[in-house]
């Protein structure tokens, strides 16, 4: 028993700094003259989180964000894989496509918000578009790199064994690129949960980004952390789920 406590203490030692910072954070708003109302403390955030979770507000906002993220990311995956494969296989067309994507990529996804409002008005499609534009490049470049990384040897072997062009693309190149594509998709999903916040700031009547901005508008800063925590938890959960799926898809890799 005593031994057990010692091991727990030893294992918990690494959380010393975290605990210290949390205590400090808890104490800061109580110092007079520092404007405590603007600095939410950890216990208050936790209380609000549970409150919002229980009365369904958090779930409602999260469901709205989840819908937008899913539609946007699925579109980005489809378009990214399609264009990425073209850029990975075809020579001159591929190079042109690659150059075009490289030129567009440096425009921050957030910068598309105002012009996309002109195109789609304030609708769900507008936020979906921002998610799409923010994640399509990740999938595109991952797919392209994946296709180009497939050893020439494999292609030659397949051809000499009599595989048609289409078979080579689908069962040699696509399969060889799969680990890279999945890496790109994983990054895209994580990134989408970052961007959704900004996408919902400007033009959404609900969603976690809206909840976060509301924290500023009605001066309830703990809402910012409640929303951010929800996003962190969702994207953490999705990432773990994704690793499981990835492992089962790529089972052949470890055989």
């Amino acid at each position: 028993m005593q031994y057990r406590i010692v091991t727990i203490l030893r294992g918990g030692r690494q959380y010393a700094l975290l605990l210290g910072l949390l205590l400090l954070w808890e104490a800061i708003p109580h110092i007079p003259g520092i404007g405590g109302a603007l600095i939410p403390h950890p216990t208050g955030i936790l209380k609000d989180f549970v409150l919002f979770l229980l009365d369904g507000t958090l779930i409602r906002h999260a469901a709205n964000s989840l819908l937008r993220v899913s539609v946007g990311v699925v579109c980005a995956i489809l378009a990214g894989i399609l264009m990425g494969s073209i850029a990975g296989i075809a020579n001159s067309l591929g190079r042109g496509l690659e150059a075009f994507m490289r030129l567009l990529k440096p425009i921050p996804p957030v910068a598309w918000i105002p012009i996309s409002i002109l195109w789609f008005h304030v609708t769900d499609s507008q936020q979906v578009f921002i998610i799409f534009i923010g994640t399509v490049f990740v999938v595109f470049f991952a797919t392209m790199d994946g296709f180009r990384g497939v050893p020439l040897r494999l292609r030659r072997v397949a051809r000499s064994l009599g595989a048609s062009k289409w078979t080579i693309v689908t069962s040699v190149l696509l399969r060889g690129a799969l680990p890279d594509i999945l890496r790109g998709v994983r990054e895209a999903v994580a990134f989408a949960w970052f961007i959704i916040v900004a996408a919902e700031f400007v033009s959404a009547p609900n969603g976690l980004g809206y909840l976060i901005l509301e924290g500023r508008n009605i001066i309830e800063p703990s809402r910012v952390f409640v929303g951010a925590a929800a996003i962190g938890l969702i994207s953490w959960g999705l990432d773990h789920l994704f690793v499981l799926v990835e492992r089962s898809i790529l089972r052949w890799q470890n055989v």
């Binding site: 910072l21 440096p106 910068a111 918000i113 012009i115 195109w119 916040v197 900004a198 800063p221 951010a228």
Partner: protein, 260 residues
């Protein structure tokens, strides 16, 4: 020399061709189809020639330059803080397991917070202006600096370490001559990624609460119903972010010349 020029031309050709095709298509579609269907379509998607004209006007009047300078200053200061704080923390955590052990739980808690989520807080704490932009850029880029730096040290080839130790390298010498150079490529990637993040975040910060900067210009043009200004600003952001990143790559290649 001649060979080099032809190589540059050949690698630039796809960019020029695809850009030309894209602009021609865009011009054709807007002029020949959209504007004939609806004369007001230029308020939704202006032709590239209109955008170029607007861009020229903004450039000559100096407006564009003022906004670029404002955003640039914000990114540089916030990024400077992020590097100034993140690099020492990353190096300490990379070299000393004690520090790493303590810092990792803190990072694990803070990193999943989307950088944009700090914008409303910054506006509450610092109000509209430079200070909140500095803060948001700092928070948005500091984690990449720390993470890549730690990662760089953790991934130093063990053989390299053993060889250096066998040859008598100790303490500071080991850090300076072996660990730091071996971690440098990843540290540089972190600096580059963080710079990109800084630009992404500053636009969002300026979109929400600012009276100057490229993000403000984009938002303002929306309120004015002038998509051509927004497009000019988008091109300007991409141009500045792209060219400064090239500068960072050049700096990296210069510092890590031994790599080849």
């Amino acid at each position: 020399m001649k060979l080099q020029i032809s190589r540059i031309v050949r690698s630039a050709a796809p960019y020029i061709v695809s850009l030309a095709v894209f602009l021609l298509l865009w011009e054709g579609v807007t002029r020949l189809i959209l504007e004939r269907l609806n004369p007001l379509s230029r308020n939704i998607l202006p032709a590239p020639s209109i955008v170029a004209q607007t861009g020229y006007n903004l450039l000559v009047s100096g407006t564009l330059f003022t906004h670029i300078a404002t955003s640039f200053k914000r990114v540089v200061v916030g990024y400077g803080w992020a590097v100034g704080l993140g690099l020492p923390i990353g190096v300490a955590a990379g070299l000393l397991p004690v520090v790493r052990e303590q810092i990792q739980p803190v990072l694990r808690l803070l990193r999943p917070i989307p950088p944009f989520a700090w914008i409303p807080l910054a506006l509450l704490w610092f109000g509209i202006g430079d200070m909140s932009a500095f803060f948001v850029v700092f928070v948005g880029s500091v984690f990449a600096v720390v993470q890549y730096t730690v990662f760089g040290f953790l991934n130093v080839d063990r053989t390299l370490l053993r060889a250096a130790r066998n040859l008598g390298a100790r303490g500071w010498q080991m850090v300076r001559r072996v660990l730091l150079p071996a971690a440098a490529p990843r540290i540089f990637s972190g600096l580059r990624v963080a710079w990109g993040f800084g630009w992404m975040v500053v636009v969002a910060a300026e979109l929400l609460g600012s009276s100057a900067g490229l993000g403000f210009l984009i938002m303002d043009s929306r309120n004015l119903g002038r998509p051509d200004i927004a497009l000019v600003a988008m091109v300007a952001i991409a141009g500045v972010a792209f060219s400064t990143e090239l500068l960072l790559v050049g700096l990296e290649n210069l510092t890590l010349r031994w790599r080849e």
